[in-house]
């Protein structure tokens, strides 16, 4: 695959190079990866719990107060968008030349869309009783679980596949 020269310039930029080559466990590539993992557990963990509840697990958890968990999800998302952008910045060629990367982005877009639907349709409508909330949320919960699992899967696959490690450096 032919990549534009600016990607090379990007990759050779001091900050990218420095983060990439830093073996430090406090700042550099691995701590960014760690933040990405912590972020995903904050996004997908509460999400999974909300979805399971909507599907009837632990049915005596009141639904309305689960709204509070969305703040964890938003925090996790901010953490992951930030660390995700940094990960691309550190290995731009590796990410941009891997088709799995684009599949992951598409799946992520879908998963976030479902998440927003659950938030607005199920939790933001204060006039709903529990039965209405479950009725509205059940199918969304199924899609949400599938979507986030696919995002996780694509993310893992991204870690174990690559065509180019760096500009003009095949894996």
């Amino acid at each position: 695959m032919e990549l534009p020269l600016w990607v090379d310039a990007f990759e050779q930029y001091g900050l990218s190079k420095w983060l990439r080559e830093s073996r430090s466990l406090v700042i550099g590539y691995y701590p960014i990866l760690l933040l990405h993992t912590l972020g995903l557990s904050l996004v997908v963990g509460p999400n999974a719990a909300i979805n399971l509840r909507l599907l009837g697990v632990a049915g005596d958890i009141p639904l309305a107060p689960l709204r509070r968990w969305f703040s964890l999800i938003w925090f996790g998302l901010v953490l992951n968008v930030t660390s995700g952008v940094l990960l691309v910045y550190v290995y731009p060629v590796k990410s941009l030349t891997n088709p799995v990367f684009y599949i992951k982005l598409a799946l992520l877009g879908f998963a976030i869309w479902i998440l927003l639907r659950i938030k607005t349709r199920v939790f933001d409508d204060s006039g709903l009783n529990e039965a209405d909330m479950v009725a509205r949320g059940r199918m969304l919960a199924v899609w949400s679980l599938l979507a986030w699992m696919s995002v996780l899967g694509a993310g893992r696959l991204l870690a174990y596949t690559c065509h180019y490690l760096l500009y003009a450096v095949p894996c």
Binding site: Y30, V44, P46, P62, R68, W69, Y160
Partner: protein
Amino acid sequence: MDFSHFHLLLNHFPIVGTIVGVGLLLLSFCVDGQDLRRSSLVVFVVTALLTIPAFISGFGAQVELLEDPEVSNDLIQRHLGSAELVVWFMGLTGALAGIGLWQSGRPLRPVRGLTWGVLLISLVTVALLARTGNTGGQILHSEIQFGLQDTGLAAFIANFEPSPSSFTRLMIASQWWWAFMMTLHFVGLVLVVGTIGLLNLRVLGFAKQLPIAPLNKLVPWGLAGFGINVVTGLLAFIGMSAYYTYNIAFMLKIVVVLLALASFALFYMTGAFRDCEGVGPGGDAPLRAKLSAGVSLTLWLAVIVLGRYIQPLENSIPR
């Protein structure tokens, strides 16, 4: 690091523990004691968990032993094959015992069938453990060696044992399989965070409008996630034993996982959970429960951090 020493120290727990567990369980049928039954289930769970470090320390012990040209690699591989079979049965015994314990702590239907299941699987486990202990002991004790030729029950069991080298190759043959396993490992992580983690956060005072007791019903899903991670973790270890063995982050992770589970057990056994079970919407949990939840949350966080740092800490333990 002296893996042989650790292995010798740890490998007695599975055998002795399982036999004690079976004994207590059988006794509980005779004298009809709920406490005896619960004790036997506790013994099974603890034994199954201690089997993890016993299994893991074996690879390092193997490498150290093979430095001696007198030691037979065939005997070691036979022992490894028997270990790679029994570890799943030990895990199943522990998992069933864990389910039994969880249910006996709740006012649910008494599960008699489950107890019989535990008994059956644990008896199979004892037989397989005897085989594993025998093949292990023979590696170094020439006085009890009866050679590589298996007879009787040992020969029968041997039919079910995997070939260690093929098992390893199978695990690492395809990056698709590896990514699939690791995806499941992440799903397990997410389930632990989304259930046990959120319960801990609520006890600490986050999302206070939620009553505490119903949140507890999510916890079995977290334990299922933990089970997924034990299985996928063991498979990954079988695939890349050397990579994980000489890795300080991995070894610490195993220790912290066991500590996190101990803190989980203590949360229920010390009464910390009973203290806060009745806390309703807006209510504050007592300090003891909060401390327990804080410790648990910290330990699970440490597990994630250590897991993530396995990669940069490759070869961090000298060979």
